[in-house]
Symmetry: C2
Subunit: 320 residues, 2 copies
């Protein structure tokens, strides 16, 4: 892409943890998502010239995840020029939908495209993880990997990093409901116990193995039976108003399973069809109706593809 | 099978736990295994008229797992006659290779065949589990289910019981080495901690998810990378002399992975070909050579089929 002056990439929201898949499993949604625009500059260094769609995010490239990710890539490649970047946030921050991951993934992909694709998309995971390190203090991969790679992704281990693409063996639709309360990931992590009862551990990994088998053997019923989390959900859900009622409503409306998205406060539910996912959305929204809590909700398909190019050359942001 | 006077069934040895699959995953071996012979008697009740291949097992039907399993089936079916049974042990007891499970599975299958197959093979799992309850005090399914159903089997949960047949998506050969030391399952369970560090739990279920993905996506390398157990193996392997050396030798000889079979003392190693499994056997045996510990070892394929009929009508035990 040497002939291209600028590139724009879109990276989608993601659901991590996925009930029994705590810290190891995530999947992509086809929407919402973030866009990152980038062009080369003769001057060294990175500037973030605009941030759209959200208030209050820093445009300091050392403080914004897109600048952090891009900087790591420039260093790795020893690029002799600088970058101008713009971020278009298409999703709420702090929602549990992988907002920082989507920005990081879009930045990594856009910069890679601009520089002639020196890295495969899978190789971009380690760069996007640096955005997560900046955002949450921990370089986890369970949001950035599905945002980059699409479908379901297993992060088997970190020492060394082993990212396993599972794809989308069976069609799935995800309803996500974001109750607009403030919930810091760090708080949500603090309340986790550092020791778990062996019996709970065994049930948890039995369910995760069932979830994997349901997915890979294309068995919706098994997938649904396996979507449980008896360890973290009881602790974390107390931070999410009306969680139990919303989850019950989703299951009653036909969802295969439901749980906390990431570390919350968003709640996700998986369904086998779009019609079902829409009915689930209505049921989940109804619980918050009149509660005084504002919500945003989405119905998304779990897509085969994650991050993608949405513009280059012919695209000019209005500001330039 | 109303016209049949007697039935003989063979049920194979099994490997449970499978590294990261502690308490939830097991697989069958095509050999060794146990045979159970059964015929109807006019008199009520169960008699065990012979036990071959082993010394010291009780012939009291209330004390031997084959009698316990058969009794549960007679009660469930309200059968108006009795049974005469014989057990042919083809494998060592207390080896960690699912010896009581093989006897229980063979008994359940033989009795079911003799009575006209009122139950499916999968439905026999709950009866065979009663043999495990007798043998170890805990009605676990992770040996009896693969012994009955063949291939790999996931016991996702017990409340309610959810047995998931995974089959044999990719060809696998298992080397098992049994160092002939006494090791009681109850002792091996006693040394387990009842709480596990969260970090270890996450790595364990990441590996189990990787093992499932490796198996179901037919990816030998991923399966091999996932065969780890950082929780139980360090505790239990101290009861098995030379464990570390044997495991290292197996891996050096080309095994995909290795670990403790069940609760030991047998050690298993998985390989992609029979030739590899034979080379692994030689390497594992070499470690014990000259140690003063007697060993038995087997190379087995993971078979699609578990328990099977090996004789009926035309077969007459020499003793009758």
């Amino acid at each position: 892409m040497n002939s291209t002056d600028f590139v724009k990439a879109y990276a989608p929201a993601t659901v991590a943890n996925v009930c029994c898949g705590f810290d190891v499993l995530g999947f992509a949604l086809d929407q919402p998502g973030d866009e990152v625009w980038v062009r080369k500059t003769e001057a060294q260094g990175i500037t973030i010239s605009a941030i759209h769609g959200i208030e209050g995010l820093s445009a300091n490239p050392a403080e914004n995840v897109i600048g952090v990710v891009a900087q790591k890539m420039l260093e790795a490649l020893e690029v002799p020029h600088g970058l101008e970047m713009q971020l278009h946030k298409g999703m709420p921050v702090g929602s549990g939908l992988g907002s920082s991951a989507a920005s990081s993934a879009a930045a990594a992909y856009a910069v890679n495209e601009l520089l002639g694709s020196p890295f495969s998309t899978k190789e971009l995971v380690v760069f996007a993880m640096e955005g997560e390190r900046k955002a949450s203090g921990s370089a986890h991969a369970d949001n950035v990997a599905p945002s980059l790679l699409g479908g379901f992704v297993l992060v088997r281990d970190y020492e060394p990093l082993d990212v396993v693409e599972l794809g989308v063996p069976l069609e799935l639709y995800c309803t996500v409901l974001y109750p607009q309360i403030e919930l810091k990931t760090s708080l949500s992590r603090q309340i986790l116990k550092q020791e778990i009862p062996l019996k709970q551990g065994i049930r948890q990994w039995g369910n995760l193995a069932g979830l994997m088998a349901g997915l890979l053997k294309k068995d919706y019923a098994l997938l649904g039976r396996s979507l449980h989390d008896a360890i973290f959900e009881p602790e974390r859900s107390i931070l999410i108003p009306l969680f139990k009622q919303v989850k019950s409503a989703a299951l009653a409306a036909g969802a295969l399973g439901a749980g906390i998205s990431g570390s919350g406060p968003s709640i996700f539910a998986l369904s086998a069809t779009r019609a079902q996912a829409l009915a689930v959305q209505e049921a989940m929204e109804a619980i918050y109706s009149g509660s005084g809590i504002e919500t945003k909700s989405y119905v998304a398909q779990v897509p085969e593809q994650g991050v993608r190019l949405v513009g280059h050359s012919s695209y000019k942001p209005a500001q330039l």
